[in-house]
């Protein structure tokens, strides 16, 4: 009688252990995240077909400066903070009309800290983060990517240098925007810089700095406030970000 009970108890215990092991194995099987870079995983074992989950395509627009932080003071009435906000609003409308979901870090003349801007962008799990600036020097549009050295993607990224895991993708995004601006005959200067909050963005990120257009052999001079000049840049940015929707998932 006693031996039969012991056998039953042992079988029950073994059954429970097997159940726990299978539950743990099932918990480790998380769905793939297509917007994260490949971390060198081993080839997947063929399994039952799963339903394809389309990753959400979100673009973050970060209008620089705000409130007492006026940025560049072009004249008594023209400030960088107003130009970037106006451009951000117009670009959001253009992107939304193309069915692209947009998250903005600043919607009014308010002071938004670099930390809050970084948080907004990183919570959005965006496919592209565009930080908007304006300057009085140079000509055309300056496209800047982070000067941080590229690093492999890890689950936990240091806040100050989170962008380092996305530098390669950011360079490709910058190249797409540059090509689109070239199509509308806006001169482009490419560069690398160290800029907050861009260095904290955990997404492909580009700083777009708009400068007045200096007249040349093929270009006609245009100030920053020129609506047709702004429209050209808006059209190019919209085209580039629409194209990026098809390209960004192909990133390694």
């Amino acid at each position: 009688m006693r031996s039969i009970r012991w056998t039953d108890f042992r079988n029950t215990l073994l059954g429970l252990c097997a159940l726990l092991v299978s539950a743990a194995a099932a918990a480790q099987e998380t769905p793939p995240q297509p917007n994260l870079p490949d971390m060198g995983k081993p080839p997947a074992v063929p399994s039952a077909p799963r339903a394809q989950v389309e990753p959400l395509y979100v673009v973050v627009l970060d209008a620089a400066h705000g409130d007492s932080d006026v940025g560049v003071q072009f004249s008594d009435k023209l400030l960088e903070k107003d130009l970037t906000l106006g451009f951000s609003v117009r670009l959001r409308q253009a992107l939304t009309s193309h069915g692209i979901q947009v998250v903005t870090t600043r919607d009014a003349d308010a002071k938004i800290s670099m930390l809050t801007r970084g948080e907004s962008a990183n919570h959005a799990m965006a496919a592209a983060c565009i930080t908007l600036h304006a300057t009085a020097t140079g000509s055309g549009v300056h496209l800047f990517t982070s000067s941080l050295a590229p690093t492999p993607y890890t689950k936990f990224l240091p806040w100050q240098t989170a962008q380092s895991a996305y530098v390669t993708q950011s360079l490709r995004l910058s190249s797409e925007i540059s090509t689109a601006l070239g199509h509308v005959s806006v001169p482009v200067t490419l560069g690398r810089t160290s800029l907050q909050p861009m260095d904290s963005f955990a997404c492909p990120a580009v700083a777009v700095e708009i400068a007045p257009l200096i007249g040349g052999n093929t270009t006609k001079a245009a100030p920053l406030t020129d609506v047709s000049y702004q429209d050209k840049i808006l059209d190019a940015m919209t085209a580039a970000l629409t194209q990026w929707k098809n390209d960004w998932r192909q990133q390694p």
Binding site: H65, D69, G71, V72, Q73, E80, H133, A134, T135, A136, T137, G138, S139, H142, F144, S147, T189, L190, G191, R192, T193, S194, L195, Q196, D199, A207, E209, A211, I214
Partner: protein, 205 residues
């Protein structure tokens, strides 16, 4: 009665004393002449102008295409690396303050001091060379045109000029009036350490 021997001895001692006095006076005169000659040989001009004229390369920023253009100049350069680094920065800012500059900044005396410090060799790290700490003054930061491109070019041209002429400088930090500042004029980050290798893409050969 004084003996003949004592008279001769006294006479000899007197002659010796007179000779010794003459020799001493002569030696004093010679020592005085030597000191006078040494004083006359001291340089009358300041050391900077006495320094040998050398060819230096300034990496001058160009706002129109966002590049750094190597420009060669000849200046008397001091031997001390700290003083040398300071002169390099001074000459670079003079280029920016000049009329028709490709990167105008209306302040030619923007660098208060440059300090060179050896980098600490860490385990599992191959960092070598020296770090230059460039102390800018507040007036220069005020005069700096605001924007990502102009600010970035100012910093890159300084880093590149230092590294080109003093290759032992591999890292650069910037202070304003001796304090850490978030940005140069609202954009370029001054809280980080810049590597000399950061500037390679901007230099136009």
């Amino acid at each position: 009665m004084i003996s003949r021997f004592q008279r001769i001895l006294f006479g000899a001692m007197l002659i010796a004393a007179v000779v010794m006095a003459i020799v001493l006076l002569r030696m004093r005169e010679r020592a005085h002449d030597r000191l006078m000659r040494a004083a006359e040989s001291q340089p009358l001009s300041p050391p900077s102008t006495a320094a040998p004229v050398e060819r230096i390369t300034l990496l001058v920023a160009n706002d129109l295409d966002g590049s750094l253009i190597p420009v060669e100049r000849s200046f008397p350069m001091p031997k001390d690396p700290n003083a040398r680094a300071r002169v390099l920065m001074q000459k670079l800012l003079e280029e920016y303050a000049a009329p028709k500059s490709t990167h105008p900044i209306a302040n030619a005396s923007g660098v208060d001091e440059v300090f060179l410090m050896p980098l600490q060799q860490e385990k599992d790290s191959n960092t070598t060379g020296e770090m230059a700490v460039v102390n800018l003054n507040g007036a220069f930061a005020q005069a700096q045109p605001s924007g990502i491109e102009p600010e970035t070019l100012t910093l890159l041209s300084m880093i590149s000029t230092l590294h080109t002429n003093l290759p032992q400088i591999t890292q650069v930090r910037f202070l304003v009036d001796g304090q850490q500042k978030d940005t140069l004029a609202g954009h370029a980050d001054l809280t980080r350490v810049y590597l000399a290798s950061d500037t390679q893409t901007a230099v136009r050969r």
